[in-house]
Symmetry: C2
Subunit: 282 residues, 2 copies
């Protein structure tokens, strides 16, 4: 199994200034075969228009970001819409960022919140039970994304790959898979064991790469271009490939400097770093 | 088993402006029975003078912070000195912050580093094998502190309680134990299971409490007074008590606002919050 340049996908938030139309054109211009889309950008472009753009460009949609925030009271209608959008785009998966403690709003001061973390995790499991049949009917794969534990309170009570696989276990692998994002999982002492398990259980829905900067300039925007941080990509990519994953590899970078740079230069650097640091050689 | 006010210990960095002498006097003034000391403050006060101060005040030294940084080339001599100091102070344990990836310096831009995380973890195990016999001879207990995964690159490649217990396993529990710090472990899906295991294996050397703020104002200084963040202290304290821990409970808060406040007010608030949120009722 190999991970090669032919599998490189641009997650559109890496070139955040680009609209969907601009990002699609950018992928074509740089010879990239796939794109990861964000719902708010798709909404701005229009869903039908986006479907047409990616189809005309011959791009695969490696993921749609994102469904989730399942610990909020009003999660259901919006997640059903997200599933419909993923179906229309024929996205390989709908990334699910499951949400933090009930009441915690990312970036805002704490108000009335629940501090019961086990209960929040239980709530995620219950919400998934509601949504999975709907996703299965529409042929959409929900991809549970464990987020770095630094986001446990405000973005995802799902903190490890092992926990994501436990959560996915009751469902068919084609309906509920997991995202392996290097930024989120690189520190985990069990990561290689759990990547192997994810492969055996047929659950790897997406492999995303970006680096972990040190010092971390910002909790949300501390992601970096591969090679600018502390992650050793070779062994992680090797493990994902050995686990049987043959899908697209998305580069998703949240970083103020990257966002401020010329998007075409960002894509050129991304291709170069990907080829040098991420692809498997054998 | 109960955790009560009679077990509350002031970690001196919670009142960082205080010297050792001032912190000792503060503990006496506020009726606290124990203090957690930091090596640089002890050095400023003088080791012999510190020994005399805590003895005269009748305080227990609940911990000495810190040994560690075992992934640096020159770890050995300094850690032997730290062990000697812990012995002189009759500290309940020497807290070990094991260090990050070789070459990474906290707060500084990356230079020549190693990105091989499994190798760094192996290096920690080898360093511990060198130091444990020396600690055992002097009757000092090394307390391995798993740090929140956000510090994996720059401060501790030891990221979970389970990993700390695996690392401690070859040694007698009175020589190598673990620190359970709420800030570092609250997010861990396995935390209750691993606290139980730590109790069964007789490894709980220290229980430290402080809150995890959200939004995190700063990666290093995002710790808060209990009640100001997202942690549910009751279940964690209950689990630690049920696991048989009957030692002191340190409050260690790294926070610019707390450090700027009047230390006597900080201690008064700490006692109040501890009694309201941390002690076990039964």
């Amino acid at each position: 199994m190999r991970v090669r340049l032919e599998r490189l996908s641009l997650n559109q938030w890496t070139t955040r200034r680009w609209s969907v139309a601009e990002a699609v054109a950018g992928c074509v211009r740089h010879g990239l075969p796939a794109i990861g889309l964000w719902r708010q950008n798709v909404a701005e472009q229009g869903l039908d228009e986006t479907v047409r753009l990616v189809k005309d460009a011959g791009l695969r949609v490696s993921s749609l970001c994102r469904g989730g925030f399942l610990t909020a009271p009003d999660f259901e209608a919006d997640n059903r819409r997200a599933i419909d959008e993923a179906a229309a785009l024929e996205a390989a998966c709908l990334v699910m960022v499951v949400g933090g403690l009930p009441g915690v709003v990312p970036g805002e001061p704490l108000g009335e919140i629940s501090r019961d973390l086990p209960a929040a995790r239980e709530r995620v499991a219950e919400a998934l039970a509601l949504l999975a049949p709907y996703a299965a009917e529409r042929g959409v794969r929900l991809a549970l994304e464990p987020l770095h534990p630094v986001y446990c309170a405000d973005r995802a009570v799902l903190s490890t790959l092992g926990q994501a696989l436990d959560l996915a276990a009751p469902y068919a692998p084609e309906t509920v898979g997991v995202v392996i994002d290097t930024f989120h999982v690189w520190w985990d002492p069990q990561v290689f064991e759990q990547i192997g398990r994810a492969g055996r259980e047929g659950r790897i829905a997406s492999y995303q790469v970006c680096d972990f900067l040190s010092p971390l300039p910002d909790v949300l925007l501390g992601r970096g271009m591969m090679g600018d941080g502390v992650i050793d990509f070779g062994p992680l990519t090797g493990a994902v490939a050995a686990a049987g994953y043959a899908g697209d590899v998305e580069v998703e970078i949240f970083n103020a400097d990257v966002w401020a740079a010329d998007p075409d230069e960002v894509v050129a650097t991304m291709k170069n770093r990907f080829e040098r640091l991420v692809v498997t050689r054998v």
